[in-house]
């Protein structure tokens, strides 16, 4: 576990010093809100209905920044090879990268959420706290697959577009579930299907985290 923790520490320290990812993701999300406002000039009522989807569009598009950045950084300085040579299990490297990307993304989400609330004038209540497991589950699903596919795409000439092509169809279940759950919480209508849906999100997270953990060794190998 020590190698994983070392990677998380290194990534977070770099992020806090440069603030490259979080800042870019935050500004980009802001832009998405602005562009959406222009492209879909809809009434406030309709806006409330599409707000959960918009939030996840912002998360997913911006999340690509974080994921691309995470491995591009390693490649730049030949770090990827150094990591492959480390005398630890490949899974540990996966866990380290996964944790750092997830933490950075969660921080970004915490920073953009207030802006989202203000822009769309959403009502907060005690129920809004139920959004925390939703955001956590959705983000983990996105980053668990995103981390391994980012490690795959980094070897290609066209890293950024390829990561989107690979990742988006695969994470579509997570996006569908997360948007539905977010809609339930923000609309104040938590129905009986809330917890079963949340369980599916967790199941997705567990399946793809485990699978990626097992397969990561093959990606590092030359």
């Amino acid at each position: 576990m020590r190698a994983a923790i070392a990677i998380v520490k290194k990534d977070l320290r770099m992020e806090f010093r440069s603030k490259e990812s979080i800042l870019a993701m935050w500004i980009f999300s802001l832009l998405i809100f602005v562009i959406f406002n222009f492209t879909f000039e809809v009434s406030r009522l309709v806006m409330l209905e599409i707000a959960p989807g918009l939030l996840w569009v912002a998360f997913v598009f911006s999340g690509m920044f974080g994921l691309n950045h995470s491995f591009a950084l390693e490649k730049e300085n030949g770090n990827l090879r150094a990591m492959a040579l480390m005398p630890v299990d490949g899974g540990q490297i996966y866990v380290g990268k996964f944790l750092s990307v997830t933490l950075i993304m969660l921080m970004f989400e915490a920073l953009i959420f207030p802006v989202f609330i203000i822009f769309y004038d959403l009502q907060l209540s005690l129920q809004t706290f139920k959004l925390i497991p939703v955001l956590l589950g959705g983000t983990i699903g996105f980053t668990s697959l995103g981390t391994i596919l980012s490690a795959v795409a980094v070897h290609t000439r066209n890293q950024q577009i390829l990561l989107s092509l690979l990742l988006w169809p695969l994470v579509s279940p997570i996006i569908i579930w997360s948007v539905t759950l977010t809609g339930m919480v923000l609309g104040g209508e938590i129905t009986a299907s809330f917890y079963p849906l949340l369980t599916r999100v967790v199941a997705f997270d567990v399946i793809f985290f485990t699978l990626s953990y097992m397969l990561f060794d093959f990606i590092l190998e030359d």
């Binding site: 697959l145 795959v152 070897h155 290609t156 390829l162 690979l166 579509s172 990626s212 397969l215 093959f218």
Partner: protein, 230 residues
């Protein structure tokens, strides 16, 4: 590289497809439908469903070959997975084309975001990405490893994608074969099974040909490399 098996397959496939055409367009009785366009459109079912079945079969082969590759590091399995992914994308493309052709006269629309339609499209996108990944990577063991990993993750994702869209209302006709009503009449069932068998045979032929071609490409590349060294 021309083997006897390939020749035999070709000789069988040709009359088999002709028989298929006869069965589908002449022999099978007309279905009862108020709309005449629907009666004709229904016959697309004999192409649509076998294509879908082949797509799934092909992607299952990609998954198995990917696992086999990572376990054995035999280049042979890598080539099989690529060949099968290409054929799978081809047949799912056919599904995505024949579906709307049928849907327009029957439903009145080309496309709807229904479970089966959406999940077929996502399935297609997953394997197109798989093939594109290979295009962007230089040849070598790295490429083989990376694409095998994606081949495994992609296949495991497929049922989850289907399941995630499922609780939306579906418009798509039910699987007539599996349902208890079993509304498929005997001649239709026969024509369908015949078409299914012919398509499966076509898959076997195509994957053998594609595999041989990839192997030849490989040999040529190796020879070029040797010449460069000299």
């Amino acid at each position: 590289m021309r083997s006897k098996i390939d020749k035999f397959l070709l000789i069988v496939l040709f009359p088999a497809f002709l028989t298929c055409m006869y069965l589908i367009f002449q022999w099978v009785p007309q279905i009862k439908a108020s709309n005449p366009a629907e009666q004709i459109a229904q016959r697309i079912f004999y192409f649509h469903v076998p294509s879908a079945w082949l797509g799934f079969l092909a992607f299952f082969v990609v998954f198995c070959a990917s696992v086999a590759y990572l376990a054995t590091r035999n280049r042979r399995y890598e080539l099989i997975s690529v060949a099968s992914a290409e054929i799978g994308v081809l047949f799912i493309s056919l599904v995505l084309i024949t579906g709307p052709i049928w849907a327009k006269p029957v439903w009145g629309i080309w496309w709807t975001w229904d479970v089966r339609l959406t999940s077929s499209l996502i399935l297609w996108l997953i394997y197109v990405a798989f093939l594109m990944l290979r295009r962007y990577l230089p040849d070598g063991s790295k490429r083989a490893n990376l694409s095998a990993v994606v081949g495994i993750i992609g296949f495991i994702d497929v049922p989850i994608v289907y399941y995630s869209i499922r609780w939306w209302e579906t418009q798509h006709p039910k699987a007539v074969m599996a349902s208890s009503e079993g509304s498929l009449a005997a001649p239709m069932f026969f024509a369908f099974m015949f078409s299914l068998a012919t398509f499966t045979l076509l898959y076997v032929y195509l994957i053998r040909k594609r595999y041989q071609l990839l192997k030849l490409e490989d040999m040529l590349n190796k020879q070029f490399k040797e010449m460069e060294i000299l």
